[in-house]
Amino acid sequence: MSERAVREIIALIAVELEIPESRLSAASSTDTTPEWDSVGHLNICLAIQDRYGVSLDMDAIGELTSVAALAALIDKT
């Protein structure tokens, strides 16, 4: 995953969860960030679809639960 992708993903997540970017890092995931709950996760996935024009399926939504996974996804787009 590229540094640019990590930066973009952190910015996007911060907006969707309404938390400062400083609370997030390349190692953040649903396990490390309390605000990143199921509702927050769906908001993040909706925003990813919209911003990057990707179409996520249910399995992807279940697996893309970390900054690293999301950054790897957008590196591929």
Binding site: V39, N43, Q49, D50, I61
Partner: protein, 533 residues
């Protein structure tokens, strides 16, 4: 001002898009309970707006699959009606029913007795009928949104099954914009005047070069874009918006187009004001604003020329100057889809809106008349007839519109919405006086409004349309106010002046009408009283 968002599905992603409005989601799938239960959060004073955005398929439940059984759509209509009537001070937004295109009956759906399409139509007829008689229920046409953008782009089965979210981000954005625009329209905050350029805007090409009959304006070929644009503009005038022309051209060329080009949909009579000359456009627009007595913040300017747009936008920042579509063939749709809802959205359209242009044109004639005669003779010549209505429930919509739109002759500039006016009309502590004006040039409709607060002996609101200023009509309203105050045993009538950027016209109004000044605050507010016992 807080908003409660009720649904039967997960609408959480909409909340952040509605900012800065403070919106709270109701409990999941609580919409019916919340509307019906008199002790629910929706019923509490904490929320003065309630959004009911629901999923029709989910409300239909097994009925959507051809099963017989209870249909929650019916319950929702009844619950909405009951809630709105019980809480006349709350503004409730709902949308039409919209069944998805996944139909178990496939091709038979149109004619089958269990047709979902027919059920949807019947439900919407009842919902619209409810909205028509319920002034605090604001309805949005969801089906029109889905038609325009397409179900495939707006709905997502992945998010539906992953977390009961029916819509995509695009749909949430569209809903947020639509709700915002609908609320503006409901509050009558739309703009009033559309100023138009001519060459390459109302017709294709430059009339000074091509001649009045050879500009692109036709029923066939590309000239049809401009003809359809003119049709849409003509329709807009019927909703109470005034059109004006601001064009750099020789007046004689433009006159010839109006006189001889039979492809013109718009005639001179469709414009409240025409400025065809070589003056800078900002000057002309200020001139139009003065002639119509309307503020620049109620103006929109459409011109194909980016230089003119930039000039107007930078010198007159209050005027809205939208970009022009890159392709002329997009002009009619761009206008109907982007410009009208954004700047000229209306929720109520009344008889007086239909004739606005004629009223403003008649005013020009009245003004010419007044230049030639002395005032007394002029007023006598006018044959003025006034009718006063007190607490008329039929006129609350118009009265609310007046409090929102009147800026100049407005002593207190308190903005009210329909539910507020309804409350004043129903309450014994208040009276709403509305004055209808008619003269030999025609009827102006309701032009004067006063709201009296009896316990305080105070004139809460006093405003008049600028169209009738200087005709002695205000005396009639004050006379009626005195009569009503006396009936309630009020011996001292209190008047207020609250200064704004626009109401300098009436800064000394009460001085000239038998009131004496009691106090003047630092911010310029003035309090007056007049003994009437």
């Amino acid at each position: 001002m807080k908003t409660l968002l009720l649904s039967n599905i997960n609408m959480q992603p909409l909340v952040s898009l509605l900012k800065p409005a403070e919106v709270v989601c109701g409990a999941y799938n609580s919409i019916l309970m919340d509307l019906v239960d008199p002790n629910s959060p929706a019923a509490s004073d904490e929320f003065d707006r309630v959004f009911c955005l629901f999923d029709t398929d989910a409300l239909l439940g097994d009925v959507a699959y051809g099963e017989e059984g209870p249909d929650q759509c019916e319950t929702l209509i009844a619950a909405l009606g009951q809630f709105c009537n019980r809480h006349p001070g709350k503004i409730v937004i709902a949308h039409t029913f919209c069944v998805s295109t996944s139909r178990w009956l496939s091709f038979a759906d149109l004619a089958h007795p269990q047709s979902l399409r027919s059920r949807e139509t019947a439900l919407n007829e009842r919902l619209v009928a409810l909205a028509r008689e319920t002034t605090n229920l604001l309805l949005i046409d969801l089906e029109a949104i889905v038609r325009r953008h397409g179900e495939a782009a707006l709905m997502s089965s992945t998010f539906w099954y992953a977390g009961r979210i029916r819509y995509t981000k695009q749909m949430f954005r569209i809903l947020a914009t639509t709700i915002q625009q609908a609320l503006e329209a409901y509050a009558n905050r739309s703009r009033k005047v559309l100023v138009l350029d001519l060459d390459n805007t109302l017709w294709g090409g430059i009339v000074g070069e091509l001649g009045p009959l050879d500009v692109a304006l036709s029923e066939e070929g590309g000239g049809r874009c401009f003809r359809d644009f003119q049709r849409a503009l003509k329709a807009l005038t019927k909703t109470g918006v005034l059109l004006a022309i601001c064009s750099k051209n020789n007046a004689a060329d433009v006159d010839e187009v109006f006189d001889r080009n039979e492809m013109m949909i718009l005639g001179r009579e469709d414009f409240a004001s025409l400025r065809v000359n070589w003056q800078p456009k900002p000057e002309n627009i200020v001139d139009i604003a003065n002639a119509l007595d309307l503020g620049l913040d109620s103006f929109v300017f459409i011109d194909d020329n980016p230089v003119e747009r930039a000039l107007v936008a930078s010198t007159l920042p209050e005027v809205a100057v939208p970009e022009f579509p890159r392709r002329v063939e997009d002009l009619p749709q761009w206008f109907a889809r982007e410009i009208v809802p954004r700047y000229f959205g209306k929720y109520f359209i009344g008889e007086e809106d239909r004739n606005k242009t004629a009223q403003y044109r008649a005013n020009e004639v009245r003004r010419t008349l007044s230049a030639n005669l002395d005032l007394g003779a002029f007023l006598a010549e006018l044959g003025i007839e006034c009718t006063l209505h007190v607490d008329s429930a039929d006129l609350v919509t118009r009265a609310a519109q007046m409090t929102q739109k009147t800026n100049q002759f407005n002593l207190t500039t308190r903005r009210y919405q329909v539910p507020d006016l309804k409350r004043f009309v129903d309450s014994k502590d208040h009276a709403v006086i509305l004055l209808d004006y008619k003269d030999r040039f025609g009827s102006e409709g309701a032009v004067g409004l006063a709201i009296l607060d009896f316990p305080a002996g105070r004139i809460d609101t006093f405003l008049m349309s600028c169209r009738v200023i200087g005709r002695g009509v205000e005396e009639r309203i004050i006379g009626k106010a005195i009569e009503l105050f006396r009936q309630r045993g009020v011996a001292k009538m209190v008047g207020e002046f609250i200064p704004t950027r626009k109401n300098g016209l009436v800064a000394s109004f009460y001085e000239g009408h038998g009131f004496s000044l009691v106090s003047r605050a630092e911010d310029g507010r003035k309090l007056y009283e007049r003994i009437i016992s």
